[in-house]
Amino acid sequence: MVDRDSPGDKAREEFFSEAQEIIDGLSRDLLALDALAKRGQSDAELVNDVFRAVHTLKGLSGLFGAAMMSGLSHELEDLLDDLRLGRIELTQQVLDLLFQAVELYGRILGAAKGDGAEPVEEVKDLLSAMGQVAQQKGGGGAGVVAQYELDPGLLGVLTEYEEHRLRTNLQAGLSLYRLRVVFQLATIDSALDELKAKTRPHGEIITYLPTGEGGDVDSVELEILVASRTPLATLRGALEGPNIAIEEVRRRDAARPDEGQRRDSAFPPPPLTPPNLMGRAPPTGFAPAEAAHLPPIAHDYDDDPHHPTSAPPPPMPSMAPAGPAAVAPGQQAGKEVSLKSVSQTVRVDIRKLDHLMNIVGELAIVRSSLGKLGDRARGRPELRELYGDLQRLHRAFERHLAQMQNGILEVRMVPLGQIFDKLARIVRQISREHDKQVNLVITGAETEIDKLIVEELSDPLMHMIRNAIDHGIEPRDGRMGVGKPVVGTIALNAFQKGNRVVIEVEDDGNGIDWLRIRDLAARRNLISPDEAASMAPTEAINLIFAPGFSTREQANEVSGRGVGMDIVKTNIAKLSGMIDVTTEVGKGTKFSITLPVTLAIIQALVIQSAGHTFCIPLNSVLESIMVETREISTIEGHEVIILNKKTLPLLHLSRLFALRPLSKSYRDPHRVYVVVVGLAQHRVGLVVDELLGQQDVVIKPLGSAVRNVPGIAGATELGANRTVLLLDVGRLVDEGVRQADAAISVGGQGSSVGPGPGGGSGGGNHPGMGGSTHVR
């Protein structure tokens, strides 16, 4: 389990992924708090979770010598501590600071991975802003714990964190109960789980302490502190059992307090910090009365060893891999378990899964060889028995291999919610910067997709969201003028459709005006005046994906970061995905991204063209047909056939890749094979020479020689070390559709390419969207 040779790299990877995970969680919690704050509410649990996350991050970054992150976390932890103890209020200002911190964490982490520079100035600014907030804090209920009849021995074994929880609950006015429970050591885990489950609806368990009494070798008595709003009698009823004694921990002043928050005047007043007086008391004051009761607690407040100036300065530059002692991945894991309680998960480097997947690929090749071996034995009577055995073996092998493959694929899947959360943060940020009120509605966050695809999706989606806010959603006045609600809506929808995942980014803004797009494109010389004159609306709107196109009259902070929709489209295409846009002027715009669920292994149709073998992802193959050459007609130089009453543009792979056709490979000069491929609602027929069959293929990265060849998505092996190229269907469909569009807009009359109700054949992969302008 522990790799003693583990290099620093491995530990760093662990660090990155764990830190990223924590930051993501942090962001989620903040968004939830933000939503609550808008309704004037808060949630102590959530604030605590945020605190805990930052605390973990601090420990983690300290462990890795990530000075900047650790320093930021330290200050942030102080701020959050003030927050959860009610010393400062969770105002919009504080929320902004917290969101900024999350953003900076992301950038620090990015910088450590070599992506961008460390946000030194920004962190400094944030720290000083946080310092100012901290100045405003009022006195806390530091003394509240001491007001209860708690055994100093018990208080002495509370961790700092548990003590905070205790204090927070008492401050919130909850009652405190002491449970004494005898557990059999053999069954303590399940018995305690049961007790926890029973207690949870009533309140929070602060700590479990073995009393050292009442137990023998096989049993142990635990003292359990529970903070709850439930009256004692009710709690007794709920938790009742032969081994449980429940009592309320009373306040020392015995008088029934009407309000837990207020420091009772009966209690010796602290001379230094009358918290109700000014609300500006320094946090360092400490009631001597408490100090007398609980000397060690004083460390909580009375010194402040980690002042910003003395933030832990590791000798290494930030993020440098720490020395050999720090590289054990298990270390963080242990820490995580302790803070997040029990989580039955392991973190796995995606490359390990790739490796496993490659092995599955090798095994698939072994399997097919095994099959061939069987075939050879089949025709020989003397080998009949052997043949039977081989067949059985082959089937079992096949079954288990499929299970293994599915298992690995399943492990790679992560919910899209992971990036949706990040996007929610961005929406919040941009809409504030832009003074546009935007409501983000997310559906299908649980939709799962390959981890690697998720990683690559965040940038394109982020850009689309920026666009939606910047170009889509109108300014307040504009919205009111046309009778729309002032708050704009951006919907982020995800759903699985067959073996593909569709992600939609939809806004209720002003839509895209195709004439404006066309004219802009003409002005930028992306199209000729002639082309502009004959351009169809759908084609014009598609120009937003053209390289060099941008509707920005002037660059602005939101979308003006040099990334256009062409980059978005390219990025999506790299994932074997496709992007579509539907828009209606005045109503809004919807981008739909269609993606494969995984890129790791796919079923492919193996075909041959001009003597070369290619694979086509089977999930984009709708059908394969044989076509008489006389059925092929030509519109404006582009070949098409009519299939199911619709025009299907044809592409010759041999021409596309400039391969010299081998005349002899045409078995019949009057017939060709056409593989109908489709993505979203588009389809194209690929003219090929031979269909060789179907096979599972493991996709491998391309060598540099073909990396940038359009139409090629990857490479794979088909056994005997034969490398075969995988076609990029998205790209090919694009190409076919582009040609068809051109053909139609020039000469087309009566023919139509594109979707129709119940359209098409075989695959059933048709969204059949109707209504608004449709663009390919």
Binding site: V157, P296, A325
Partner: protein, 118 residues
């Protein structure tokens, strides 16, 4: 973390000169409480943050026991919980090893309590 400590402790190089080390591992405080009465341990190594009872509570549990109350205790924890570490020591832990730690430090610390134990 546990696995790491275990690996370090079980390293033959480490155990050499200490008369051999046999490591028992508890996944949480309760398990430690289950294990402790069942064997004679020369040394207890614990973290502060654990899923159930915390390290301080475990220390107190050990120290209060009539049977194994004298077992040497080493805390391994991050520096960030300074206050907790002080408490742990006050409760009777014998030594503290900050995370991250080196094999040498762990060895040196443990060796103090293990010499002659075996």
């Amino acid at each position: 973390m546990r696995a790491l400590v275990r690996a370090m402790l079980e390293d033959p190089e480490f155990a050499d000169g200490l008369g051999g080390i046999e490591v028992s591992e508890a996944s949480c405080g309760f398990e430690a409480m289950r294990l402790l009465p069942r064997g004679r341990f020369a040394l207890v190594v614990t973290d502060i943050n654990m899923p159930d009872i915390n390290g301080l509570e475990l220390i107190q549990f050990v120290r209060r026991s009539a049977h194994f109350g004298a077992t040497p205790l080493v805390i391994i924890s991050t520096q960030s919980t300074e206050r907790d570490i002080e408490r742990g020591l006050a409760l009777g832990a014998n030594a503290f090893v900050p995370k991250p730690f080196s094999k040498e430090l762990l060895r040196a610390t443990c060796a103090k309590f293990l010499t002659g134990a075996g």
